[in-house]
């Protein structure tokens, strides 16, 4: 029998079928996870040693009842107006020390952004989705103000800078540069969002 030259060629025609099978397996078994959300810090359980006296006008109270209605500064408010009201409160700047605030300088509202505190309370029967919407609007109020100042100072949105800063793939030289900028804008409008224990009635 005459010997053939070289090894016989393997038929690769079914390679596509095998690959398709694997592809379909991965398509079916995996889910693209949605891992994004609202970052929040809880208050530590031990009360601070020294009592801090906060003036009533520096607190912006938001209450959510079990039907999802909002009571903001003792007045019923629609959820759509919350962001604007929070912005107006945060940049009110009554004591005049805040030179970047564009608020009305109303003496009965907050002194300056570093003193302004938003206090959020909810009922035990409040729906989680309503709570998230309110949280979203309050975080949005801070982000809107920070974006505005960030645009003025660095011509760039704060949220954009922050996400690049937090992204682990950003090279460290850019990160160091961003760190100061992010910190500076954060200090202009520090996020002071207090969540007291919930009430049941």
């Amino acid at each position: 029998m005459p010997r053939r030259k070289g090894a016989p060629e393997v038929n690769a025609g079914s390679m596509a079928d095998i690959a398709f099978l694997l592809l379909i397996f991965f398509l079916v078994t995996t889910t693209i996870e949605t891992d994004a959300g609202l970052d929040r810090m809880l208050p530590p359980i031990e009360p601070p040693d020294t009592d801090v006296i906060i003036r009533q006008k520096n607190i912006f109270t938001v209450n959510i009842n079990k039907n999802g209605q909002l009571l903001v500064e003792d007045q019923l408010m629609d959820l759509k107006d919350l962001r604007e009201a929070a912005i107006a409160f945060l940049e009110n700047g009554a004591d005049g020390t805040c030179n970047y605030c564009k608020g009305r300088r109303d003496v009965s509202s907050s002194d300056n952004p570093t003193k302004a505190i938003i206090s959020l309370k909810n009922d035990r029967e409040t729906k989680y989705s309503t709570y998230i919407t309110v949280q979203n609007e309050l975080v949005g109020a801070y982000n809107d103000l920070r974006n505005r100042e960030s645009q003025r100072l660095f011509n760039r949105d704060f949220t954009d800078m922050e996400s690049e800063y937090l992204n682990p793939e950003t090279p460290s030289s850019i990160r160091d540069d961003l760190k100061d900028k992010v910190k500076r804008v954060q200090d202009m409008f520090p996020q002071k969002l207090s969540e007291a224990e919930t009430t049941s009635n």
Partner: protein
């Protein structure tokens, strides 16, 4: 000339499928890299609310997950329809949250133990009472960094 055989008219040349495996493999690798295997099966309904001001949770190894929601249909006969907490692969009561967090924290490498985030994956129909209890438990074990995991979207869609 006889050397050049006349091509038959109307006969389509066959499309070469030799590169088909390459294309499919490319797709396969794409899906293999962008998807993550589910590590625990869900026992609760988990339709997250929408929010627009979200931050991405980078680094999966620094996250501890807590699921909350109504038990899914096959578990409703046993566990009822009230929202429950799911830790790992089983239902848990409020008192177990603290020890779960501590156990998960102890599993992580030393240098990560102080930078852990607790991701709360809560169904949008759950009540805040349960969430408040969980938050209280988290404060007790000093796991203060939380992330309310949401879908990206208009937050006002939650209200419908």
């Amino acid at each position: 000339m006889a050397k050049f055989a006349k091509k038959k008219d109307g006969d389509l040349p066959a499309v070469s499928t030799a590169s088909l495996p390459d294309i499919v493999f490319m797709l396969l690798f794409f899906f293999m890299t962008v998807t993550t295997m589910k590590d625990s099966s869900l026992l609760v309904e988990n339709t997250l609310p929408n929010a627009s001001e979200i931050k991405k949770l980078e680094k999966k190894d620094r996250v501890i997950y807590i699921y909350v929601g109504k038990p899914t249909r096959e578990y409703q006969k046993v566990f009822g329809t009230e929202p429950k907490i799911q830790l790992n692969d089983k239902f848990a009561s409020i008192g177990e949250v603290g020890s779960y967090i501590l156990a998960e924290r102890a599993k992580k490498p030393q240098e990560l133990q102080n930078v852990l985030t607790t991701a709360l994956k809560v169904d949008k129909d759950a009540n805040m009472g349960l969430i408040a209890d969980i938050k209280q438990e988290l404060r007790k074990v000093n796991a203060l960094k939380v992330n309310y995991t949401t879908y990206e979207g208009n937050a006002f869609n939650n209200l419908q």
